[in-house]
């Protein structure tokens, strides 16, 4: 099934995208309301939460260019050393920009 990108069609597509996204925002909480929170579920939730971050970042590093990898490595090192997010993130961005700038200059 296809929708023509007329004005009405585009509005319908945006409405459908909104609906699908709201289902993802509400769905997890809605389903959890049928689950009894015991220590095991609590433990699952806590481990799963930080695993979401890892599962976003690791493929990003593996699919990225050297600049992306440098950004993540530098952020990780500074974060582990200082435990301050803002300097870690800033250093990561600078690393990505630097590697890309000098990488492009060499090539």
């Amino acid at each position: 099934m296809t929708i023509e990108t007329t004005t009405a069609g585009i509005l319908a597509l945006i409405a459908i995208m909104t609906l699908v996204t709201v289902v993802t925002r509400f769905g997890g909480v809605f389903l959890m309301s049928f689950v009894t929170i015991n220590p095991r579920i609590e433990s699952f939730i806590n481990t799963m939460a930080s695993s979401v971050l890892i599962a976003i970042i690791v493929p990003m590093a593996f699919s990225g260019d050297p600049g992306s990898v440098a950004a993540l490595v530098v952020t990780a090192v500074i974060m582990l050393a200082t435990r301050k997010p803002l300097p870690a993130i800033a250093a990561g961005i600078v690393a990505a920009g630097g590697v890309r700038y000098f990488g492009a200059a060499i090539l």
């Binding site: 004005t7 996204t21 289902v23 909480v29 609590e42 433990s43 481990t47 695993s51 599962a55 890309r100």
Partner: protein
């Protein structure tokens, strides 16, 4: 029925300003999206409407990538759902706090759920702080930044010639990584992260596109399900708060 979690509106304001710095980067991405959207034939107001109602950057980029004189509905819905399916897990992880506020507020707040404000709330929860205000206040500033960025993009084009050359495409990745590493680390967490990393890579390589986040997160969560820590500070604190 009384709900034990009282949203503090002064804290909502604090969290709004806490996420203001990262919101400036969100403006840059919003501009990139606005530009991509008008190049694919969306009217400026349509792109703005999409940013305001969908408010999920990666899926919006993917959607306008599929734009043409017509759009196939099922593939579009599948892509949007797959990219945004991480919201299901993110929302679920907030449930121990969200169940303590009324359903109206619970689902209202969730409309603003996105990666950055969720990462802050999840990290706070790990260190024993219950923070739903960042979902609301932080979400609000991120949402406004996304709309302002889109508006700039549709009317003035991309703000920067090449945001990637400045490393700006890595802001969110570095932010999420810093949040993950700032949390509690234990042998159990490190094993879970290793499993999550390996499974997300395997899914990214061999499973359908955009499934890797959910696969990796569930695999990491399984470690927590089978390997319980003796006393989790966040859990016991939450339990005490509920009793009082």
């Amino acid at each position: 029925m009384a709900y034990s979690y009282q949203l503090s509106f002064s804290k909502v304001r604090t969290e709004f300003f806490r996420l203001l710095p990262i919101s400036f980067f969100v403006v840059a991405f919003g501009a990139a999206f606005g530009l991509a959207a008008v190049q694919k034939g969306l009217e400026p107001l349509q792109a703005l409407l999409m940013s305001a109602t969908v408010f999920a950057g990666a899926s919006q980029f993917a959607a306008v990538d599929m734009w043409g004189s017509s759009v196939s509905l099922i593939p579009l819905m599948a892509v949007v759902f797959a990219i945004n399916s991480r919201h299901l897990l993110m929302g679920a992880s907030l449930y121990p706090m969200l169940r303590d506020i009324s359903p109206g507020r619970r689902y209202g707040i969730l409309l603003l759920l996105t990666d950055a404000n969720w990462a802050v709330s999840a990290q706070d929860y790990q260190s024993g702080k219950r923070n739903l205000e960042v979902i609301l206040g932080g979400g609000l500033v991120l949402w406004m930044a996304w709309i302002v960025g889109t508006w700039l993009g549709v009317y003035f084009g991309g703000l920067l010639q090449d945001p990637k050359a400045l490393g700006l495409d890595m802001v969110l990745g570095c932010f999420l990584l810093a949040m993950a590493l700032g949390g509690k680390k234990s042998p159990r967490i490190l094993v879970a992260w290793t499993i999550a990393a390996v499974s997300s890579l395997a899914a990214w390589k061999w499973l359908p596109p955009n499934t890797h986040v959910v696969v990796g997160a569930l695999a990491g969560g399984a470690i927590g399900f089978f390997w319980l820590e003796k006393a989790s500070p966040a859990a016991s604190e939450a339990g005490e708060e509920r009793q009082t």
